[in-house]
Amino acid sequence: MLVRLKIFRFDPEKDEKPYYQTYEVEADPMDRLLDCLNRIRWEQDPTLSFRMSCGHGVCGSDGMRINGICGLACQKLVRSFKEEVLIEPLPVFKVVKDLVVDLGPFFEKYHSIKPYLITQTPPSDTERKQSPEEHERFEEAIRCILCACCTASCPINQNKETEQYVGPAALVRAFRYLFDSRDEASEERTALLDHKDRAWGCQTMWKCTEVCPKEIPVTREIGQIKKRIHEAKNK
């Protein structure tokens, strides 16, 4: 079948402002949108820039806005689209070139929530014990691939006035450590997260949960962080 893609283009080396360019490619209904983008680049227009790596939703490179909804181009099949597909870079972030955005601020916010296990007790000679139930507590959160689709879709992050909000991706990772039974920095973490630009930045708008390519219940996890902060303060 013939697929028509209308793609956002912007190259600061030559363009004064962004524009849209339409391409047509022959594709199998089972092809990924990523295959179509590659075909454009390889067969029609090598100047088109976008990130990709694993091609099957594990590395998190190819997040973009597809018909207005953030997702991974490698996870979308041609057969789920009719007529024209509109492809734009992830919102919230600065466009560097075409579909490539600057994820620097995304990773800075990610760093700010201390995304690592904090312990005081020296480890034993073998593994620390953790029951399957304790592990399951944060199992869904470890699916996160840092693709930034959730943060890009969040109306709070999209709003210039509240763009300092760390965003759902950073909070998912905060959840992952806060609810890991091996972590010993619960107080430090709840104090850190108890801030208008961190846990309280979330206004439960569910956009993150709707778009997450790994089906993480993002909003619910942020809600559990808020609950944990409450509990810590009312102890």
């Binding site: 090598p46 790596s53 594990v58 490179s61 995304p115 312990t119 399957p132 470890i142």
Partner: protein, 574 residues
């Protein structure tokens, strides 16, 4: 930009990051990486990491050693394998202490599962040796190691593409990279350089490898005059999702999944009567291809079924969530109810840059050391995998030898002065890039790359023979001729992926030739290298590592002995 560091690591997969964590604090460490660190291909590893912890049932490192040696079809160096398997429990506990979210047993220990070729008591029956986090083990270890790096002053150069290794009279003294975001060249000097650049699966049409796996590090070492070891051994993973080639982890069979042909028959019983579906990968891939060649593929096509339908929804959702999601997304079927169509897919290269057990690069069959240059991970060949790697031994390899390379570099770099290099090396790389950009070539990457991928599938994949390999070498050489007239139409600097892919293609063609020439010279069948015209293993002639050297006349193959300590070669039956 011209910058100096003590230690420079190229590649931010598990080997590179583990090395970085090891030497930071005692050296100024920088990591150069083609993709952002968390996008590295190590993250695509699913099934687990092996260690004889014995958490689920009795296990011993001696059994792990035996299985790895047998899995390697006796080509792995047993001294190196022993180092790896004895270090394995420490590696797992270290990861756990760093925070890796391993799945757990009811008693709260790290859970372990079956994997192909891993057995109890020297081949008696399968043993649960693979430590796992559902079917996303590589990804969570990568995330954890990256998160560890954030706690240290490690300098990252993300989206920096390696263009050249720089040597002074005495040693490797740095690299030149293309900084994708700016389009500028970076000249990064160092007292020690580690290549942890991964594999080259993308030279084959059907592969589980990411787009970045183009073998740049291996090829640049080769072009610098360093031989490549055992390049004829390319692993095809038995269960790639049909037709995309996306990995469906062996964990699916470790958890009880079964392979079936058109007749519904469990055909692995015929090929590996003892461990059946849990035989080593080379054995299972050949079995699948024999089935499809003999018209027992599904609907007579070139795939078979991986049947998980008897496992139940809960087990699939808990332990194989990622795989189930791939099947649902890419095929629109549900593995809880439907069998999964699978075919062998190019997955891993056992060969690579020869190193000693501390990651030091070796330049010849006498094992002379290339000062200042180290390699670890898939781009290296220690050799612990020999002619065929066992599942879950690769993450172990990355972590054991990534760390050992880090230890070696932080010891070695102290004896080196800071390199004094002129900008000449930078200028020469710059003029090459300009040459490529300014050349009005008529050839396009896409057509040459497709040609290469087809040639490699046809003549250099699971089944090989003299006639095909010769034809393959000829065709790759003619593609190399065409490559000389390659044209890059995008002339801009930043994010010029066309330029990067043109350079990658040059590496891929060189590696294709090295693989085919090495395969042509090995006139026996061993592990993943199966010669239809020489279907026996010939220890008398070929119990030795190949080394392919770059010469003006093309790749030249020489050999060096295998290190055998505890296990003499025996017939390999599963």
């Amino acid at each position: 930009m011209n910058i100096k560091h003590d230690i420079l690591i190229v590649g931010a997969g598990l080997a590179g990051l583990r090395a970085a964590v090891e030497c930071v604090g005692q050296a100024d460490v920088a990591v150069v990486t083609k993709v952002f660190p968390t996008r590295s291909h190590s993250g695509a590893a699913q099934g687990g990491i092996t260690a004889s912890l014995g958490n689920e049932e009795e296990d011993r490192w001696e059994w792990h050693l035996f299985d790895t040696v047998k899995g390697s079809d006796y080509l792995g160096d047993q001294d190196a394998i022993e180092i790896m398997v004895r270090d394995a429990p420490r590696v797992i506990y270290e990861l756990e202490h760093m925070g890796v979210p391993f799945s757990r047993t009811p008693e709260g220990k790290i859970a372990q599962r079956n994997f192909g070729g891993h057995t109890r008591n020297f081949g008696e029956k399968p043993v649960k040796r693979a430590c796992y986090a559902a079917d996303r083990t590589g990804r969570v270890v990568l995330d954890t190691l990256y998160d560890q790096c954030l706690r240290h002053p490690i300098k990252f150069y993300p989206e920096n593409y390696l263009l050249s290794l720089i040597f002074d009279e005495k040693r490797c003294a740095g690299v030149v990279t293309y900084d994708l975001p700016t389009g500028e060249l970076h000249f990064l000097q160092a007292k020690a350089v580690l290549l942890a650049t991964g594999g080259c699966g993308r030279i084959y049409k059907t592969t589980s490898n990411g787009f970045a796996s183009t073998g740049d590090g291996m090829s640049l070492a080769f072009r610098s005059g360093i031989p490549l070891e055992d390049m004829e051994f390319v692993q095809f993973h038995p269960t790639g999702l049909y037709p995309l080639g996306i990995l469906v982890s062996e964990a699916a069979r470790g958890e009880g999944g079964l392979l079936r042909n058109r007749l519904g028959e469990r055909f692995m019983e015929r090929y590996a009567p003892t461990v059946k579906d849990l035989a080593a990968r080379d054995v299972v891939s050949r079995a699948i291809l024999i089935e499809t060649r003999e018209k027992r593929g599904i609907g007579g096509m070139d795939y078979v079924h991986l049947d998980l339908t008897h496992l139940g929804e809960e087990k699939i959702e808990k332990r194989l969530w990622e795989i189930a999601s791939f099947v649902r997304i890419y095929l629109g079927i549900d593995p809880v109810h439907d069998p999964i169509p699978v075919q062998p897919t190019c997955h891993y290269i056992m060969g690579g840059i020869p190193t000693d057990v501390d990651g030091r690069v070796l330049t010849d069959e006498k094992e002379s050391i290339a000062p200042g240059l180290y390699a670890a991970g898939e781009c290296a060949c220690v050799s612990v995998h020999g002619a065929n790697r066992l599942g879950c031994n690769s993450l172990l390899d990355l972590l054991v030898f990534g760390r050992r390379s880090g230890l070696a570099m932080k010891r070695d770099f102290l004896q080196y002065e800071s390199p004094i290099l002129s900008n000449e090396s930078l200028r020469s790389v710059d003029s090459k890039i300009r040459g490529l950009l300014n050349h009005q070539g008529r050839e396009k990457c896409d057509s040459i790359r497709k040609g290469m991928q087809t040639v490699m599938m046809e003549y250099g994949s699971v089944f090989r023979n003299e006639e095909g390999l010769k034809k393959g070498v000829e065709e790759i050489r003619s593609l190399k001729e065409r490559y000389k007239d390659i044209g890059v139409s995008d002339k801009k600097k930043a994010f010029n992926y066309e330029l990067m892919e043109a350079i990658e293609l040059g590496h891929q063609l060189d590696l294709s030739e090295a693989i085919l020439v090495s395969a042509l010279h090995r006139r026996e069948s061993r592990g993943a290298h199966w010669r239809e015209d020489f279907p026996q293993r010939a220890d008398r002639y070929y119990l030795k590592h190949s080394l392919v050297f770059p010469t003006i006349k093309g790749p030249e193959v020489r050999y060096k002995p295998v290190k055998i300590t505890k296990f003499q070669p025996e017939a390999r039956v599963y």
